[in-house]
């Protein structure tokens, strides 16, 4: 790992002011530190958000608000999340391994916007609002592309609000080694209609699947999802799976998620 200067921020303002031109915010470090070890990232300044009081889960009536530094294990075991959005608790409980869940955070996952991460599918599928130190961003506007978000360089996610869906389920086909989603699908019945968000296959990261949403709006059944022909041309191929294979997973996992709703 290249040299870096570590700063433990005492507040959001302190963090934002410390980031400089070539700094990175550090949340749980489950992606950033391994990336720095491989010398794929070499920030001059590392601003740790662990002391900024950003953890916690709050039931706000129509929504659940989760602090950005809340760890996956705490989302997975929260009675509030388990009762209001069990799909979200289950998603958090199946990220990575025990040690990743003990350190990794929801804000870090969303800010990184890994194309195979689980949380972006839940945020987009359930129409979450991402709160930052300067504004509120709808999930649809937040995820810009692979590893890319709408966040400014000195902007910090403070919390995420998930509207409580009428029903929701998240199903992923995990890579056997990393537990990242080969494909993961979040199906949600919201006040806004049926939403289907797909992670693990999009060229630009997480995306909503219009054809599946239309089919499920007409008839909400597993068969309805399985009857949709999934276009593989916009889905990525890599060493873990071809686009055709992933496209097949999109339809099948959507059907399984519908069964769980």
């Amino acid at each position: 790992m290249y040299k870096t200067t570590y700063i433990k921020a005492e507040s959001i303002d302190h963090a934002s002011a410390s980031i400089g031109d070539d700094g990175k915010f550090l949340a749980g470090g489950m992606t950033l530190i391994p990336t720095m070890k491989q010398r794929l990232a070499s920030p001059e300044i590392l601003v740790d958000l662990g002391g900024c009081a950003l953890s916690g889960i709050e039931d706000c009536g129509a929504t659940i608000k989760i602090g950005a530094m809340t760890k996956h294990v705490d989302v997975a075991t929260s009675p509030i999340v388990q009762s209001a959005i069990p799909a979200l608790a289950s998603l958090a409980g199946n990220i990575g391994d025990r040690q990743v869940r003990n350190r990794g955070t929801i804000g870090g996952s969303l800010a990184n916007n890994d194309p195979s991460a689980c949380y972006p599918a839940a945020a987009l599928g359930m129409d979450a609002i991402i709160h930052t130190n300067s504004r509120d961003i709808e999930a649809a506007d937040f995820f810009v592309g692979m590893f890319e978000t709408d966040l400014e360089e000195d902007e910090i996610i403070t919390a995420v609000s998930f509207p409580k869906p009428e029903a929701a389920a998240y199903v992923k086909f995990p890579n056997p080694a990393s537990r990242y989603a080969m494909v993961g699908v979040c199906v949600a019945k919201t006040s806004d209609g049926i939403r289907v968000a797909v992670t693990g296959g999009g060229e630009d990261g997480v995306f909503r699947h219009d054809e599946l949403e239309a089919a499920l709006s007409a008839e909400f059944s597993p068969a309805s999802a399985r009857n949709v022909s999934i276009d593989a041309s916009e889905i990525v191929s890599d060493m873990h799976g071809t686009a055709d294979y992933r496209a097949q997973l999109v339809g099948e996992l959507t059907a399984r998620a519908v069964e769980m709703c």
Partner: protein, 156 residues
């Protein structure tokens, strides 16, 4: 360099460390506690697992400076005087290791697992040890060891 203060296996430690020092490097090279292993160095294998404030973490994926103020327990810190921990004893009795390289991480992970689930099933042990890789045993005797230790720990 940053001055860090934490508690390592019950002893207060205070040291100046370069900011880019990994916690595992600090534990092994500065403190000389080499029971915590570096296996893959890419956060996959779990040989470097220690407890921070009772929670298992991979010490190759955390900077030493991030442990400021924490209580750190390594494999050297779990025995009771000369008596090894029931989890270690169970690995010994059930042949839960062959080369032993992964064992410190397995033991630290398994102690947390049993703390949260005092009577884990086969699949719960395997799922709970998802973050630990063993290339020798095929895991069968590791599962047996953890369940055997769980029974002993439940009686204490």
């Amino acid at each position: 360099m940053t001055l860090v203060n934490f508690n390592l296996n019950g002893k207060a430690v205070s040291a100046d460390v370069p900011d880019n020092t990994l916690l595992v490097s600090f534990i092994r090279e500065t403190m000389g506690l080499t029971g915590t292993h570096i296996g893959c160095d890419t956060s996959q294998c779990g040989a470097c697992i220690v407890h921070i404030d009772g929670v298992s973490i991979k010490s190759c994926s955390m900077l030493a400076v991030m442990a400021e103020g924490a209580n750190i327990t390594t494999i050297e810190g779990i025995s009771d005087g000369d008596a090894i921990h029931p989890m270690q004893q169970a690995f010994h009795e059930n042949h839960g290791l062959q080369c032993g390289f992964c064992t410190p991480g397995m033991v630290m992970s398994a102690i947390e697992l049993v703390g949260q689930n005092p009577n884990p099933s086969d699949s719960e042990v395997r799922e709970g040890l998802e973050g630990n890789i063993c290339r020798c045993t095929g895991y069968h005797n590791i599962v047996k060891s953890v369940q055997s230790a769980a029974a002993v720990m439940a009686r204490k």
